[in-house]
Symmetry: D2
């Protein structure tokens, strides 16, 4: 089924490989890169951005473009295009890519987001446990000799077993997180305005309003991708609803939270939090959240584990292989009209 290795070079489809600012060796194993070269005529394939003149010379034949960022190129200038495969982790903004034309022409716009699901889900669980079991705070105590043993060190800890857990956003991250939570028998409650409640019930989770979710959940995972609709979704009033014994785990984007309000509430000891993403990165050296009580901080590290990034290239090559064999791509995330029009 894969493109035969014996296909003459001249008969191979043209694939532009322009992953900048990602590096090729960062996202492809040697084996997957070799497979890619076997199945297609790979153009550019360098870590620097493709120069405009280089692009101009191949775009008419390009069957697929593998890229991290779509620079507002006109789709009309790619008459043979069948697939755009992005390697950054998000579908391009509709302000840069003309999705309507892509859909009308049957061009697949594929995101590598699924490659990130497992490693981000693992980090979300690890950060949740670091906060709920006070693993970080407990360790820091050892640095100045203030650690407290046994029950004295567990006055505010709790286990995940049988606890209600809230997921804000039920996309790929949620799907990767659910199996990790399953052995803890948590009841999963979900807020996601992009998914019908009946579907959520069919998936074995409980659809809730955002208010109800915040009031009842013991751990709240913020997994929603940024959209034009969810800027500062978790504002001060909503943050106030969170239980005093809860942990807020912010994984997707700081975009969806009023970060100043969150910082203040952590200082007030209102609840605990684990945070991987910030409104500004690097975080300013004097940002007060650095020393907020009850917080676990991570420097946007959930989705950047070296060896796992090669999963991106694996999905790209697998889906190109399928398409070149006349089959649908099954691994990357295809753009959905209803969703991409809501992207910022």
């Amino acid at each position: 089924m894969p493109a035969e290795p014996s296909v003459p070079e001249s008969d191979k489809r043209v694939v532009i490989l322009n992953p900048h600012p990602r590096k090729i060796s960062e996202i492809f194993t040697d084996e997957d890169l070799e497979r890619l070269h076997q199945m297609a005529r790979v153009v550019w394939a360098k870590d620097e951005p493709i120069p405009p003149e280089e692009l101009a010379s191949v775009r008419e034949q390009a069957y697929a473009v593998i890229m991290a960022r779509w620079h507002n190129f006109s789709i009309a200038e790619f008459p043979a295009l069948r697939a755009i495969l992005e390697v950054s982790g998000r579908h391009p903004s509709p302000s840069l890519l003309d999705y309507e034309t892509c859909f009308a022409r049957g061009i697949r716009v594929l995101s590598c987001a699924p490659a990130f699901g497992p490693m981000v889900a693992e980090m979300a669980l690890g950060m949740a446990l670091a906060a709920s079991r006070q693993i970080v705070a407990g360790h820091v105590g050892f640095l100045d000799g203030s650690e407290r043993y046994l029950h004295e060190g567990n006055l505010d800890t709790f286990t995940l077993y049988d606890k209600p857990v809230g997921l804000i956003g039920f996309g790929g991250l949620a799907r990767a997180l659910r199996p990790l939570l399953a052995p803890f028998r948590c009841s999963i409650q979900v807020y996601d305005p992009w998914v019908a409640p009946t579907y959520l019930r069919d998936q074995g989770v409980m659809p809730l309003s955002l208010e109800e979710l915040l009031v009842t959940s013991r751990v709240i995972f913020v997994l929603a991708i940024p959209s034009v609709e969810n800027k500062s979704l978790l504002d001060r009033e909503l943050l106030k609803l969170i239980r005093a014994d809860a942990v807020l785990v912010l994984m997707s984007r700081a975009h969806v939270v009023d970060f100043d309000a969150l910082t203040e509430m952590l200082y007030a000891g209102r609840f605990r939090a684990a945070i991987d993403v910030f409104p500004e990165e690097p975080l300013p050296p004097d940002h007060p959240i650095r020393h907020a009580p009850g917080v676990v901080l991570s420097a946007h590290r959930a989705g950047s584990v070296g060896p796992e990034l090669r999963r991106i290239g694996h999905l790209v090559v697998n889906d190109l292989e399928a398409m070149l064999a006349g089959l649908p791509p099954l691994e990357m995330q295809g753009a959905q009209p209803e969703i991409v029009r809501r992207l910022p």
Copy 2:
């Protein structure tokens, strides 16, 4: 099937409840305590240790004793005894309890160890992730502004997915940990000299020599209970076998590790570790491991989460209920002759 509530008090069996140094409210919910009083004539039931004269007055009628420590009482002085239910987490030492007489008389010696499995397993996973994903080190970086973002912060991290994981000890903790590891698809390799290799294979894990396990595992969980055989089992020579990219997670007892060698090797950057138990607790203020690189420290906090401790009383009352109804106890861990004779 449970003892009828209407049993006259005088017909009820005598159960001595003497959990000191545990407190009754720490290990029993009100509901389970009420069930206990319904099914038996409960004697003492105070947080202080039972005075010798008090004990002397009831021991001849005692059907069961619920206690944290067995003080070298003579079993012969308890002619009606059918069960010893311990609430500390370990079977009594054979130097204090005459197990042979218990076995010959059919007295059940039951340990509440199963109550600890889930919470310790969760902590083991949390500490493993805190080390493998550098959640603790990453957070500490924020305190002085040295945090590194994205790939720069992930130079030494790895995920658990599909990694070989070694378990030293395949008792109750290992059984509680396995479901938490299952979604990561780790291959599980086990060293446990108390369990036959054929049995391990039947359980879907790979029996290995300790040397092989140390050489190959990416995460090594030390879960073995202390025995007369395993003092400093992980000595300097064995610790040298651990991979440079591995994490050693010490959960059960410091007894099984040469702690000085471990500390030195962490300073030498040989591997990483997460440690919940220490040779001396509290750890001396100047112990070098407090500042060892690549370590996550926890003050013996894995098995002391408040609400979870009520699980102990639940198991005790359930098993007493079963025994009083003429049924075998199914929840606590019965003493096995081959094992208890190896306990220190």
Copy 3:
């Protein structure tokens, strides 16, 4: 998120409900039908086929059509159409529906096939066990007193535990069957020319050539939907490769097997089979397969369990609800260009 009940009737979208030859009460619960009427202006909604003049009067406004068969209507005559939701179980033939126009216009063509997965998978497992454990043959023995007890009745039986199982086709049926096989720890080997081998490996199954699959599998499930490519795929030569101790379970369509060759081989005692679908239904009264040894026959009954058929309507209403709220449909199976062009 769902369409508000208070939407005035005149503002609601028009949905043509024409499920003939299915009956409305067969595929919708009262509750789902009520939801449908709440969210849309439902036209026709009778068990008889919609008359042409009736259709002509509403097709210009139709937002969606719910139907069992697409009668070669011109898509151009449905200018407002956004969705075709079929309730028979298969996407319409490309000879009857102009998919290219649908794709270009962004019209979703949705199949209710996922509603059938669980009940067909259960029947596939039940029929496999009926053959492997000789449940049918064992019962028939009782009718004339020839039953054989204990080992004598188990000379040719086997269990599924740890056996290699082959799946021909890795679509929705295979996905519904996998969890049912999981507790038997079968190794799953797959032949599906529509799915890339790398994807199959990522799903934890082993891609094999059809020949290898037939030679090695102990149970072979034929789950492939009919296509222009797979007519009599399992021909006499391939059937000869099947192990003598294997069971062939034919669930999807007789189309994919040389049925005469299969019948002969069963008479020759070459292997055993369980068959739910036939080249001609009803099967001719004198068809020899009725009395073939080692066969379990079922009259196309895997996908027609009454209460389960209401799942069709549930998926239809859920996906319409999502689309009317501006969200992507998540429950039914969307047409893929690469696949529909291969349909007969």
Copy 4:
């Protein structure tokens, strides 16, 4: 850890291997038999019963006896005995074996019952599906051309998905059956007077009275081993409680059911049944249940699948290996005082 192969023959423990009426090759693989000979001095080891004089000559040295039936030997005549390993599937009757002395002397009385769990559970599921999906009745229809297609053939069928399932008996068979039922998401309700309700709840099943279980369950699995207490437990009055749309699956022993009442009720069409065990085997040729409507009959074939019986020898050798290494046996089922005294 296993007994070293180099142990001189004279130092090996004596194990009497007397499995009659089972045959050695029926229950041991060559490999396991070889392991047994390596680790012990195996005496007798023939398929015929050991002659009394032969037994008399070795019983004083016997460390273990592997046997199918215990013939009322006096335990006192086996002064070195440490283990009785039975290979029939049930612990010996307390009328034949002096359990009290075994317990007092620490002699393990081990049953191979766990070897049967998986194959019996598979058959129980297969027979349940054969009845619920009418796989047997549907096949029989083909024999005389009366088969009915599609919905017409599914007027009385149902799937297991999400249905309430009742288990009468929560021992090893129930534990082997639960994982097979798990993917069907059945709610599991249990009646077992030998297990405390609190324990059942902890196991995630719902303890019910027998009456409630019969009234509510859609499939009822009878899995209880015979005891002095449960003769004809399911009498006519209780059988009347079963739902008209339910299937009764009788797997363990006919002992627990009023078989005449059951036969009558099947003729009256009160419910359906699948039956593997009979009050008299072979069943009399004129027994009316042979032609009862809605029944699936199997000739005590659930636990006699040839290759699976070697699991018995595997467990026996594994547990002997463990015991000879000074470790507790983990695979076979140890006799519990509270249970064995209830055996018939």
